[in-house]
Symmetry: C2
Subunit: 371 residues, 2 copies
């Protein structure tokens, strides 16, 4: 039923998308906490509306272009969750003056000072969260550290609370380990907000977020919002972590078989790394999925076939670890669907979603890139 | 002089671009062979014109969207260098009827039959090259193999010659090894064309191509055209192979310093893998450049700093192998330029080139993605 779709193409199964979104809403909002879905994965207004279950709502973005795009599509409450620098104040100020509430994050006095000064000059106040480092993974200040209070002093009226991202959850090897990371993530921001409040700094926002920790956290006590993005689509990394089932993965890359290398047991497709991305996120997991798991055109996994290697516009499909191939199952021109390692990276290689409903492409949703 | 440029951004130094393009033209055309530059890296009409030294000329493309875009910009002689399948004939036929000469490639009777039949139905003849496997790297038929003659029989009047791509040249560890791969590449197609002609199959086109082999081949005897793309920009993989100097690399990603992790010796930037790509092509080379080599805003490499790790919108800059950092050199908001591992992958993450002339951004050239 996918004949006639130019390959390679990014397919999005809206039924799976809807199920994933509903599950996360029920889990987070059911826990009495706001969901502020992260748009870095989807970069699409239709997907955002599905995530929120409404036409608009609070969102997280990873680029100013996302902020501008979603504002133009009716979203008003936007958190830009990458460390803010003065040169970016102008674009946020422009959105603020048009009626947006765009929040920013910082993790140093130097950044805080620069952003406050630039905001003053631009004639706006940018609500700013202090980024807390809950796992040594990337950015942020140690929880309840002296530096945190110093940054809060610099922010003054602009201080809006604290946030963290437990990126380390992606490296866990068990659900118990994810639960432990989630508790550390929660504790890091809740203790920081409590310490700030004790020193007279209002800290209304207490924000956490990663798909694994949001899925398995035992408690959101003291947390006011959860940011999470990849759950909308899920991917093989999430499946490898036990966060989702293979059947939950809502996106796949449709590719055509273009050749056979019979001696080597290779099926060559037009789904190379340009369509799949260079992401090899399952490489360190128990099951290395190569550049993706191979399914038939209906989305059913084919034995243990993976994209074993990829060139720019060529995918090399083979049995995991090699082995004989029944090439009769892979005629030239036939269609395969590849499940991605990492939804954020794979989706970013495409300019549109071909939207599947009941196994047919029903419509096309645009997505965008750039900053 | 780059203040005011939103980061991250893809910079293209046109002086280096021009020098790289001229050098390849002189080398290939000076050898009496046609240059058919590959547009998979650049995806930009301005860059194509620079590569050809004229407004149009023969080009190679990796997607039908490239074929359509470049046709709309005046290019008429286009080789689509990914194995052809019947479902793609319609789009090529449409271009052919508008006056293009779009050639295709196949490496099996099954593909040849499908393409010939679909072309007949579409009312066009698509000049088709047989892909030869010169290095066991990807696709193609063994040189001068019986299968080659069988495919030529199926193609009949559509047969236009032979082509190969020595992708294995990227894995070489010396210039001598690249020269050997180049000679094997040449020999594979020349022997195949000779064998075809001996059997009465005209084989006018004898096409080779990869930037390393084009740079170092001792001979193009018997070859009619060279396809090569990454040389326009060059990158760290090419520098690691000895194909170019670091100073030849024409593209870089401009990023802002957004934070410091002093205890870890990390400078955090807004140039993550979304801006750099996930490509880790130098990982297996003698010098692993991480996600890219760090330069100051003027493009001068800073000691031994690399992007040691990358998240979606965060780059982690550190000394190669760790070590103390003078954070005074990396103030919050200051600009860095990152040289990419793989120009094709990094450029693909961007929707435009910010074009540098004499160290200033003089204009913006669009680039495109999709298929």
């Amino acid at each position: 039923m996918l004949e006639g779709i130019d390959t390679p193409a990014l397919l999005l199964d809206v039924q799976k998308l809807g199920r994933n979104c509903q599950r996360m809403r029920e889990r987070v909002q059911g826990g009495g906490v706001a969901l502020r879905p992260h748009m870095k994965t989807a970069k699409s207004v239709e997907v955002a509306q599905c995530a929120l279950g409404s036409a608009a709502g609070p969102i997280t973005v990873s680029t100013l272009r996302e902020a501008e795009y979603f504002f133009d599509h009716g979203f008003r409450d936007i958190l830009y969750a990458v460390g803010m620098v003065p040169a970016k104040v102008e674009r946020i100020a422009a959105l603020t003056k048009r009626g947006a509430r765009v929040s920013a994050i910082v993790d140093s006095r130097e950044a805080a000072r620069g952003v406050v000064e630039a905001s003053l000059k631009a004639g706006v106040r940018i609500p700013t969260l202090v980024e807390i480092d809950s796992d040594g993974h990337r950015a942020g200040i140690a929880p309840a550290d002296g530096e945190l209070f110093a940054v809060a002093e610099v922010l003054g009226d602009s201080l809006a609370g604290v946030m963290t991202h437990a990126g380390d959850s992606y490296n866990c090897t068990s659900v118990d380990a994810i639960r432990a990371v989630a508790e550390r993530e929660r504790e890091a921001v809740v203790s920081s907000a409590t310490a700030l409040r004790a020193r007279g700094h209002p800290s209304p926002v207490v924000s956490v977020g990663s798909t694994p920790t949001a899925t398995f956290a035992d408690s959101f006590a003291g947390v006011t919002e959860v940011r999470t993005g990849v759950y909308m689509f899920h991917d093989l990394v999430m499946a490898g972590l036990g966060v989702c089932a293979i059947d939950d993965i809502a996106i796949s890359v449709l590719a055509s078989v273009i050749g056979h290398q019979r001696d080597k047991g290779w099926v060559i497709t037009d789904g190379g790394w340009m369509a799949l991305s260079r992401d090899r996120g399952t490489q360190k997991q128990a099951i290395d999925q190569g550049y993706g798991m191979v399914c038939d055109a209906d989305g059913r996994p084919i034995d243990d076939f993976i994209v074993a290697d990829a060139n720019q516009e060529h995918g090399i499909v083979a049995r995991r670890g090699g082995g004989p191939v029944d090439f009769g199952r892979f005629p030239i021109g036939s269609l395969l669907r590849i499940l991605p390692n990492h939804a954020c990276a794979t989706a970013a290689q495409h300019v549109e979603y071909r939207v599947l409903r009941e196994g047919r492409v029903a419509e096309t949703w645009e997505r965008f890139g750039g900053w």
